[in-house]
Symmetry: C2
């Protein structure tokens, strides 16, 4: 587990092969087993394989053009109707995304966290493209596929200067 956490890296280039449906489900399963405030699980997911939709989604993020090359992408949304503790859906959805990235890596898939929230024009664009209800906030788009290039070797980002003892 620790090695998987440390060897995970963002992947933005994929083979054209489709991702197995059961692997997509495993990634979603990992997402939904994230912790959340009061176990509120305030997430919703849209699995995107339609190339026309992926092409449009790629155009909504200036740093996300590579999304059009992914065989599948998962839109993660926060549903404020499901919040028990208002203000925590961003943390809950972030934990879900991290689980997705780790699960993808464990399955031999490559993924990257492309952000929607809190950038207003991306939120508007994704909401329109996916026809989301007003209470469902597009949070992040996670493209997935089999990596076309080998990821960077794991090198730890551990930085002892960021750690203090008992007091700042």
């Amino acid at each position: 587990m620790l090695n998987l956490i440390k060897s995970r890296r963002s992947v933005r280039q994929w083979k054209s092969d489709a991702v197995r449906e059961d692997d997509v489900e495993k990634v979603l399963d990992a997402a939904m087993n994230a912790p959340s405030a009061g176990n509120e699980q305030p997430w919703q997911f849209v699995v995107v394989t339609d190339k026309a939709v992926l092409n449009k989604a790629a155009g909504l993020n200036p740093y996300g053009g590579f999304v059009k090359d992914a065989p599948v992408a998962i839109l993660v949304c926060g549903d404020v109707r499901l919040e028990k503790f208002p203000g925590y859906w961003v943390q809950d959805c972030s934990a879900a995304v991290e689980n997705m990235l780790l699960a993808a890596h464990a399955l031999g898939l490559g993924a990257v966290w492309t952000s929607v929230y809190p950038i207003d024009d991306r939120i508007v664009g994704f909401r329109k493209l996916f026809n989301l209800p007003s209470e469902v906030i597009p949070f992040a788009l996670i493209p997935l596929g089999y990596p076309r290039v080998k990821g960077r070797d794991a090198s730890s980002r551990f930085n002892p200067s960021r750690v203090r003892k008992n007091i700042w």
Copy 2:
């Protein structure tokens, strides 16, 4: 990895045994290998083993009294001076916390995510207790220890009603 993600559960009761220092470092290492916006890594950590400080911290969160019983707790903070992309430190720190919870579970430790941000009075209290600079925002306190009780068996939270295809 997938089984570890699915078998992780919140642990709030611990044996009094100290946590090995190298295990604490592995948890911090996992945290700092989380993804972040533009790899900004905007996090800071305070490792708390001083019982007087743990007792005070336990009193700052009405849902966190059990923190006083933990042999160690790690305060995760966001440092806005380190942000390259303003507005993302909460997502970055959330991914770091999820890595910490998974690493702890992999090491046989039990942990739970107790929140500080975005609750104003908790932020004020933790800032004062730990003497944090104004740019450093207390985000979450993660108590760690060897579990006193067996965790619940893993039962998946996978919910197919939360998954749509290509459009809402």
